[in-house]
Amino acid sequence: MSPVEATSKCLYDTLARMSDVTRILTAIGEGDPSAPAQLLPLVYEELRRLAAVRMAAERPDHSLTPTALVHEAYLRLVGAQAFDHRGHFFAAAAEAMRRILVENARRRTRARHGGNLQRVDLDSVAPTAPDADEELVALSEALDQFALVNPQAAELVKLRYFGGMTGREAAEVLGVSPRRADQIWAYARGWLLERLESAD
């Protein structure tokens, strides 16, 4: 009915960003379908910082697991309260984790292929098998393609592989039975393997 003007849009985006995680989770509880998307940048930032700081600890905490990292982010951003819709938080966390890891892997891969090891930036010295990085990037790209044809199955992979969730936890987030989640999982693994191997 009325023209979409681009000029003032940024203003509203800025206002939208001001929302905090608790408010977004409440909005999700109230059925606002756009809220999960707002969650991602906040969770992403927090996880990045958290992971960075955790890894900075002189004596690395041996009990650190991806789930622990995500749960710590939850505590920091939401507090101890339990939300019915916390599953959305973990979904966002899984996506955030994926982006962080893939960015990292891409950076390291680029540095390696740059052929100039001495000038590698500080953040790329952490030793990781080269193949693992490339595989991670390839997997993430395959996952993007998978999400186009089967969003639910792709989400499951994201939750389990990048979010570090168990099959049961992931099932809960997706709102399917654990058995159903296992069935989808089998299919997803087959699909992704096929895609990755046929790409070689």
């Binding site: 009325s2 003007e5 939208a16 992971a51 900075a56 890891l101 930036d121 953040d123 098998a129 570090g164």
Partner: protein
């Protein structure tokens, strides 16, 4: 059955032969599907541990393993680090310190010369190879440093146990803060030492070395011939070691933070450290000076640690420190601090307050572009202070005042921030270019030819950035003095009182723009453009139009007629015209703009595409539907391939195209496209998004046009609260939505709801808009409801006449308003007036009268006793109805009413 369901069903069948049979049966002739599913099943059963172990666990643990695998090496290394042990040609004598990086030993060099040196053994746990590699990369530059206040780094290598070590000039001194306190140095003596430190850092910067970890323990002062001489140590080591593993320093796997927290610059507290430059050292020098004067750094270690790691970093990045004099005056230890500076508390605070505060705060600016440009510049300003010359640092920056202002005026400052945002954007753009050039320079360092080219590019970028910065500064100062300053109390320079709105402030400032920028027409043009566009966003169309017109005149005079800035001006001006209802002017200007854009920027440039969309909207508004349709159809195709189908720009045009289909009566096409647009925008942009809301509004209007009122109400109802929240209750889009909702209620016969919404629409419409067509439409629509509503409780003839009269006064040539007035007057019993208004309206109509007029006229005449005239109108009306079969219920009600009045029998 889709692939996944088939896969799952088949996977449930354990027996391979049975499974194959099942697949064969279900797939039938679709052999590719059969093969595909079979293939996936094979893969899945041979997937092994694929994906079973989470990615994070893998990444995190592999990084930890490299740490954990070392203890044996560490133990053996410890064993050999004892006095007397030789490391290459250095003999360890005694351990003289333990720093963040590792232990420092006094050592005897035996070859090529015999001398005492300091040998720093880097802690275990770092990747020695990269440390040494980075040190080697920096070594030549380090060797170029030759300054009496810099302790040279002489050598570096690896111990037999694999630990990196560095060899430096041996400095037997105390950290500068301790030295000064111990010798009770006065502030002036401290400043003198500090100047020497700045000069040392300046020297290093000129050789291309950034320290990155300046702090008191890296600035040692020793007495040589009874003269205190500061020496900066550890130059280049922070970069080489990168990761410092101490409680005070951070290291990360993702982006390294190097430095000691209290002295760390805001940009070092970021996770991306690509662009640390010399100005980070300036910040650390600022902290050092702060501590020398006030006795503690701006953010004390204790406070920082209490806050937790993340909070600490946030504080460094965002929190404005208190001025040194403020810090001092509130310090419990003030008497001790003053005694250590050979003075008294009151005198000390007074000495520091003012210029020294300013100097320190300038070095500590969060935005490094506002710090001293060089360490030498900082030293000079301190020197100026000592000579009682005016210093270059200023009190409270404009940005600081803006933040203060923002806190006081949450509402109006929105506009101010918007304004500043737009003004600063240009500078940010060029700064980004500079950073890129700087990055290129780094990459190319080892390749001289490239380096020269990159350096030239960098210089050019820097000059450009400086020019833009100067321009932005001029603008900023204007905004600050004339607009932000308006928030000062009345009586002060520029002050209009604290409760002044930004609009008022701008009104006062607008006349000043001309004289102020008389010699800088392009700066003036930019300011007017920005102010105008901001006002347009705020709905102040008159001011907006005036400012943008003046900006355009300037740009046309001083720039090419097809310069992108000129074109942007034309585009926004056309939008202003459109918003003011001057659609013909808008269309003409848009056609002109578009032609120029196509030629200058190309037909598929994002700006051109935006201009096409705007023009299409104007065409649609003036009823040139086919033209609008053609433009939008072409543009949607281009935008889909250029931006993708889910981009807000694509979605916006798709939405407009759906509107074109609706207007052309292609309702199935409209519904299909609009539904798709809504789905995509909800998914991509979310519900709380302006584009999504507008798309939903269009979908509802299509349902309305299709007569699907219940669906329409459902959508209108659901988006209204979101629009009120996101766009504001008085925003024109929100109000249009409310009108549409009211119309839908009317169609459903929900007159009570209709009344409520129409009243609210009128109440919420901004006063400034009361002459706009929309606002008058509001009045007449409510008047019609109050006049002809079948629910007698809702009818209010007197008010209906008032509202309609108001609308007709403002727009005496509107046939619609006159008809509304005629109806209201009929209901109020002003028969003669009603006849006059209705006849005037019929005269204005190209198509003449219809039953909506004739039934009411018939009743008017009947009441006046002219039964012949009444019957004539009545017959006319009945005939018209039989021919045109109108669906609008109101005309049927008029007929029933006339039948009853004139004792006719309704069918």
């Amino acid at each position: 059955m889709d692939e996944q369901s088939l896969f799952i069903a088949a996977a449930e069948i354990a027996d391979p032969a049975e499974r194959a049979k099942y697949l064969d049966r279900v797939c039938g002739v679709d052999k590719p599907l059969l093969q595909r599913v079979q293939n996936l099943l094979d893969r899945a059963s041979n997937a092994g541990s694929f994906l079973e172990k989470p990615a994070v666990g893998h990444d995190v643990t592999s990084e930890f393993q490299s740490e954990i695998a070392r203890p044996a090496a560490v133990a053996s290394a410890k064993a050999i680090e004892q006095p007397g042990v030789m490391i290459d040609s250095y003999k360890l004598i005694e351990q003289i310190g333990e720093g963040g990086m590792g232990a420092v030993w006094m050592a005897q060099q035996t070859d090529p010369v015999k001398r005492l040196v300091a040998l720093k053994l880097v802690k275990a746990g770092m990747d020695s190879k990269s440390v040494i590699a980075r040190f080697e990369a920096e070594r030549q530059a380090l060797a170029l440093m030759d300054h009496p206040n810099i302790a040279r780094v002489l050598d570096g290598g690896t111990t037999p146990a694999g630990r990196p070590y560095f060899v430096m000039d041996l400095v037997k001194g105390l950290p500068i803060t301790k030295f000064c306190d111990k010798h009770r140095f006065t502030p002036l003596q401290r400043l003198e030492l500090f100047i020497a430190v700045c000069q040392a850092v300046q020297h290093a910067h000129q050789k291309g070395i950034i320290h990155r970890d300046l702090k008191p323990s890296n600035v040692l002062v020793a007495l040589y011939d009874d003269k205190p001489v500061p020496k900066v140590i550890d130059f280049g080591l922070a970069k080489a070691t990168g990761q410092q593993l101490t409680d005070k320093t951070l290291v990360t796997g993702f982006g390294a933070i190097v430095g000691t927290l209290e002295y760390m610059s805001p940009e070092q507290a970021e996770f991306n450290q690509l662009d640390i430059d010399t100005r980070s050292d300036i910040y650390s020098l600022g902290v050092l000076l702060y501590e020398l004067l006030a006795g503690s750094p701006p953010f004390a270690k204790g406070d920082l640690e209490k806050a937790g790691m993340l909070e600490m970093l946030r504080v460094i990045r965002e929190k404005e420190p208190s001025k040194p004099s403020t810090k001092l005056s509130t310090a419990e230890r003030l008497p001790t601090l003053a005694a250590n500076r050979g003075t008294e508390p009151a005198k000390l605070t007074k000495l520091i307050r003012g210029e020294l505060d300013w100097i320190v705060m300038k070095a500590l600016e969060k935005d490094r572009g506002r710090r001293y440009e060089t360490a030498g510049g900082l030293a000079e300003d301190v020197h100026r202070y000592m000579l009682h010359e005016p210093v270059h640092a200023h009190p409270a920056s404009a940005a600081y005042r803006l933040r203060k202002f923002a806190r006081r005026h949450k509402g109006p400052v929105l506009a101010a921030s918007l304004l500043l945002l737009v003004l600063v954007v240009g500078v940010v753009g060029t700064t980004a270019g500079f950073v890129r050039a700087e990055h290129q320079r780094q990459i190319a360092e080892q390749n001289e030819t490239k380096a020269i080219a990159a350096a030239a590019a960098e210089k050019q970028e820097r000059q450009l950035a400086q020019a833009r910065e100067a321009e932005a500064l001029a603008l900023f100062q204007f905004v600050d003095e004339k607009i932000i300053a308006a928030a000062r109390p009345e009586g002060q320079a520029g002050g209009l009182g604290r409760e002044v709105t930004i609009r008022k402030a701008l009104e006062v400032a607008l006349p000043e723009i001309g004289p102020r920028f008389a010699n800088q027409p392009l700066v003036e043009a930019r300011l007017r453009f920005t102010v105008g566009t901001s006002f347009a966003n705020l709905g102040e169309r008159k001011i907006a139009t005036d400012q943008i017109e003046r900006s355009l005149a300037l740009r046309r005079k001083h720039l090419a007629s097809d310069h992108p800035d000129t074109l942007a001006c034309m585009n926004n001006l056309a939008n202003c015209y459109y918003a003011m209802g001057r659609v013909a002017d808008a269309t003409k200007l848009q056609e002109e703009t578009l032609a120029l854009m196509k030629a200058r920027l190309g037909p598929e440039d994002p700006l051109t595409l935006g201009a096409i969309s705007n023009l299409a909207i104007s065409y649609a508004t003036v009823g040139e539907l086919e033209k609008a349709l053609k433009l939008n159809e072409e543009t949607v195709a281009i935008k889909k391939s250029k931006f993708g189908p889910d981009d807000p720009r694509t979605l916006g045009t798709m939405n407009n195209l759906a509107g074109d289909y609706r207007n052309l009566g292609r309702l199935d096409d409209a519904l299909k496209l609009s539904t798709e647009t809504v789905e995509r925008s909800q998914k991509r942009l979310g519900l709380r998004n302006r584009v999504t809301l507008v798309c939903m509004d269009t979908l509802a209007s299509i349902h309305y046009t299709r007569g699907e009122f219940a669906e329409a109400v459902k959508i209108y109802d659901s988006i209204l609260p979101l629009m009120k929240e996101i766009l504001g209750p008085g925003h024109s889009v929100t109000l249009t939505n409310m009108t549409a909702l009211a119309n839908t209620y009317a169609a459903l016969g929900r007159y009570g709801d209709e009344l409520k919404i129409r009243e609210e629409t009128i109440a919420k419409r901004p006063k400034a808009d009361s002459d706009r067509p929309d606002a008058l439409d509001d009045l007449i629509q409510l008047a019609e409801l109050l006049a002809v509503c079948p629910d007698a409780k809702i009818r209010d003839p007197k008010r209906a006449v008032e509202l309609a009269t108001k609308a007709v006064e403002r727009a005496p040539k509107s046939e619609w308003y006159l008809r509304g007035l005629g109806w209201a007057q009929f209901r109020a019993g002003a028969w003669q007036d009603s006849i006059t208004a209705l006849n005037k309206s019929i005269e204005l109509r190209k198509s003449g009268g219809d039953s909506f007029y004739w039934f009411v006229l018939a009743m008017d005449y009947w009441h006046l006793g002219d039964k012949a005239a009444a019957r004539k109108r009545y017959d006319q009306a009945v005939e018209w109805m039989a021919k045109n079969k109108p669906s609008d219920l109101r005309v049927h009600r008029f007929r029933a009413e006339a039948d009853e009045l004139m004792n006719k029998k309704s069918k």
